[in-house]
Point group: C2
Chain length 322, copies 2
């Protein structure tokens, strides 16, 4: 088909007719293989409407675009069959890298699936990159770009404890989820560091949704567990907490302080402007693409990077009343 | 390659070796052509971090997923070269449909480009779908799903005028942009319908960004143009207007009323909760996929649908003071 095989003109013609009937697919993909058309970068995430994941996608697009590559975003809605299909599709498309983004449950089945993806992509000259997830066992050909969930949660909780709060309601994420578990560890680290006893009734789990934040705050209020501050595991959860506190007639930050996690774009536009932990989502996307592609062109490159988070202090925290 | 051409065993072997070296691409794409692997649905938008466009993507994914198809999202950052590449890539991938989403400048070059895309996709058995954009000239094989920008803007402005406002600052979108121009027409329609004279100094243009909303509101205040209400062309623009009003010590809605457009998820969580025009973004995505794919399996289907918008009344509008 490339004109460099010794076959008769007639045979070539017949083969080329077959190729034509396949809509020049061979030609295009041969170009991709020979490097004349650069393979896209694929980003696979759980839910495209999450405001923070969209910023990872923006970082990926910026970095991929600056290198002349397209990027494609797909979401799985936690359906592993769909994830399998997407990785397979991206392998067939000669994607330069496949990025899986966002915390997940890291059980044995997950590790087996990731090892399979990593090897399948590696054998096709592509690369598996995990973003915002812990590393895989040694020997699995994958790149990992994570950020400091535990350190960020420590800072947020310590900020409340330093202001004098002793009863901090923690609206944590789903049990078993990697990033949620790390944030929970950071919350507990800070309590320990400040000599504040851990209380089970203040350490809650649930989804990172507004509804979950609202319901858990309302429950804590009606159960009378007693708290003067809330550390929400995500800004969207903080939205729900703020709504429940407002509904109960409690003023933030005068009566209850609130800290979030993520620094979504509207965090500064809430009333009060939300103190939160900034995750460098765009940088996460840019770094993932950079590490995967620099590796491709032969530079040495790190395979495991952890980006730092920072506390952004606004108006939602004050010392406890009284 | 499919085993049904009369060539010698030796030739076949050589051809198959060439095919193998192309990583079974032919086979996979032959499958796609024969319908055994369903082609994905591709969504092309300007900026993936726009909160409303993410909801179009969610609707597309839901509808495509329920039909056993993957969906891919890509953004162009207004780069027509990148848009060309994406449409070409999706055509090669046998995408079932390519959806271009969001208002745009509909000049001659745009119409030529769209006609080219529509024909290229049609000849490959795919379909161009425009979402949130006006229709193309008759004869171009494309499907259009738009929503009522003009009617929504009319409702929003009329709501302010009915409350007694006479000086409504309009923070409109970029000149020439299809959806922005329609919203501007709706604003002017409502003024006319209520017998309120149009004032050039109140009818402003700019980007749909928070910064633009902030700067234009601050300028209007410092120029002393005089207004008791703001109609922002998008909720993100309204965020900027609210920040500028707060900074100037003006209370919303006591001293100035504000209406937005879009109904982004956090609109109800602002203080005051924002009265705005709800655009059925998820429904837009679902309808686009439905029309494109129902057509594919042979049902008759409409090629131009306009979804309605609705005014969502919250707490940011009151009659003018005094």
């Amino acid at each position: 088909m490339a004109g460099n095989y010794p076959v008769s003109a007639e045979t070539r013609e017949r083969v080329m007719a077959a190729v034509d009937s396949l809509h020049y697919v061979v030609n295009v993909h041969a170009k991709a293989l020979s490097g004349r058309v650069a393979g896209p970068v694929a980003l696979v995430l759980r839910d495209i409407t999450g405001p923070s994941l969209a910023h990872v996608a923006a970082g990926v697009e910026e970095e991929a675009g600056s290198r002349g590559r397209l990027s494609l975003v797909c979401s799985t809605k936690d359906d592993t069959k769909r994830e399998d299909d997407l990785v397979q599709l991206m392998r067939e498309q000669h994607a330069a890298a496949v990025l899986l983004v966002g915390g997940t449950v890291t059980d044995d089945a997950y590790h087996r699936r990731m090892a399979g993806y990593a090897k399948a992509l590696d054998s096709a000259g592509s690369r598996l990159v995990l973003c915002g997830r812990p590393p895989l066992p040694a020997g699995v050909p994958a790149t990992v770009v994570d950020y400091d969930n535990r350190g960020g949660a420590f800072q947020a909780t310590a900020h409340l404890l330093t202001a004098g709060h002793r009863r901090v309601l923690f609206l944590g994420g789903a049990p078993g989820f990697s990033s949620a578990e790390e944030r929970r560890l950071g919350y507990r680290d800070a309590l320990r560091a400040h000599g504040v006893p851990h209380a089970d009734e203040l350490d809650t789990s649930g989804d990172y949704t507004r509804a979950s934040g609202y319901l858990r705050t309302r429950e804590a209020l009606s159960a009378g567990v007693g708290f003067t501050a809330v550390f929400a595991g995500s800004d969207v959860v903080a939205l729900g907490a703020l709504a429940a506190l407002r509904e109960a007639g409690l003023s933030v930050p005068r009566e209850v302080s609130v800290v979030g996690f993520d620094d979504v774009p509207f965090a500064a536009d809430l009333t009060p402007a939300l103190t939160t932990v900034r995750v460098p989502y765009e940088e996460l996307g840019r770094t993932a693409v950079r590490l995967a592609l620099d590796r491709e062109v032969g530079f040495t490159s790190d395979n495991h990077v952890v980006l730092s988070t920072q506390l952004v202090i606004r108006d939602s925290v004050r010392p406890p009343a009284g």
